[in-house]
Symmetry: C3
Subunit: 152 residues, 3 copies
C-alpha cells in the first residue's frame, strides 16, 4: 500500500476532482429529467415500459420535450467526456493553480448554463455561447498539454 | 522513470482498474451486437454499407431490434462515463477497501443485468431497478468524494 | 504539495497523454463539422436555432449529411471512451514503452481514418477496417490489464 493519497493532496488535482464530480453529477441528472418527462407525458421508447392493457402501444411515441432533454444529454456527453479526459491529464501536468481553477469554473458554469438554456429554452445565442465557452476551455487545456508535454 | 507502478500496488485502485476494464469491455460488446443484427437483418444506416445492386437502397431502414441495442448502448455510455470518472477520483481519495469493492461490484453487476433486461427484454421493473442501482452507486461515490474532498 | 509531476515523467504516461489529447480533440471537431453543415444547409433540431420569421419552422428538419456527421460523432464516443478509460489504466500498469506507443498510434490513426472514411464516404470495407483496428487495440489493452492485474 503506497502513497496514492499524495495525488489527492495536490491542490490542482483536488479542484479537478471536485469540479468533475459536480459536472458529471449534473450530467447524470439529465437521466432523471428524461424519466420525469417520459412518465408524466406517457412517452416511451420500449413496449415493456408502456404498462399493460390494449392501449399500451399508443404510448410508444416521440415527444419534443423528451427529445430536447435527450439532445441536451447527448451534448453533455460529447463535451464533458473530452473535458474529463483532457482535464485529468492537464491537472497532472503541473499547471498554475489559479489558471487551472479558472478553467474548471468556467467549464462547469458554462455547462450548467448550457443545460438551463437548452431546457427552458432561452433564445439563441444563449446556448451557443455556453457551448463555445465550454468548448474553448477544453481546447485551451488541450493546447497547453500538447505545447508542454508532446511525446509521440 | 519513476514509481508510477505505485498506483497499481494500491488495492482499491487495482480493483477499480479490473471492474472498469470489465464494464468498458461489456459496453464495447454492444457494438458487436449492433453489427450482428445489422448484418443478419440487413438493416443499415449508410448507403455504402448496403452492398451493391439496384435494390441496395432498400436496406437503408430502421429496425426495432437494432434500435433497442443502440438504446442500451447509449444508456451504457450515459451511465458508465460518470462511473469511470467519479470512480477514478473516488478510488484515489482513500476509501475503505471493502466499501469500494462493494460499490464496484454492485455497479458492474447492475449494468450487466441492465443489458440482459434490455435485450431480452425482461418485463419492467427489471431494467429500471438495474438502472437505479448503478445510478445510486455512482451518486454514492460522488457524495463521498464531495463530502471529504470538496475544493472549489 | 507532492510529486504529482512524477506521473508526467513516466514516458508511457506522457505518450498516453499526448495521443489521448489528440484523439479527444479530433472528436470535439465533430461538433464544429455538425455546426458547419447545420448552418450552411439550414437544418436545425431546435426551433430557437431556426431564426425568426414565418418560415423559420421549415428549417426544423433532418438532413442526411448532418446525420452522417452525428453518426460518426456517436461512433467516436462509443469507441474513444473505452480507449481513454482502459488506456489510462493500461498506461499505469507498467507496459513496455514501444508496445504501448504502438497501441496508441494504431488507435489514433485508425480513428482518424474512420472519420475520413465516414465523412467522404469511402466505400466499405474502409470504415469497417478502421473501426475494427481501433476496437482490437482497446481489447488488446483490456486483455493485458486483466491478465496481469486482475483484482476482483
Amino acid at each position: 500500500m503506497v502513497h496514492v493519497t499524495q495525488l489527492m493532496e495536490n491542490e490542482v488535482f483536488m479542484a479537478f476532482a471536485s469540479y468533475t464530480t459536480i459536472v458529471l453529477s449534473k450530467m447524470m441528472l439529465m437521466s432523471t429529467i428524461t424519466a420525469f418527462y417520459r412518465i408524466t407525458r406517457k412517452v416511451f421508447a420500449n413496449l415493456e415500459d408502456c404498462g399493460k392493457g390494449e392501449n399500451a402501444k399508443k404510448y410508444l411515441r416521440v415527444d419534443d420535450r423528451v427529445e430536447r432533454v435527450r439532445r441536451a444529454h447527448l451534448n453533455d456527453l460529447e463535451n464533458i467526456v473530452p473535458f474529463v479526459g483532457i482535464g485529468l491529464l492537464y491537472s497532472l501536468s503541473g499547471p498554475d493553480l489559479s489558471t487551472a481553477i479558472m478553467h474548471f469554473r468556467l467549464f462547469v458554469g458554462a455547462r450548467i448554463y448550457h443545460t438551463i438554456a437548452y431546457l427552458l429554452p432561452l433564445p439563441q445565442p444563449n446556448r451557443a455561447l455556453a457551448f463555445f465557452t465550454g468548448y474553448g476551455v477544453t481546447f485551451s487545456m488541450a493546447f497547453r498539454l500538447l505545447k508542454s508535454r508532446l511525446y509521440l
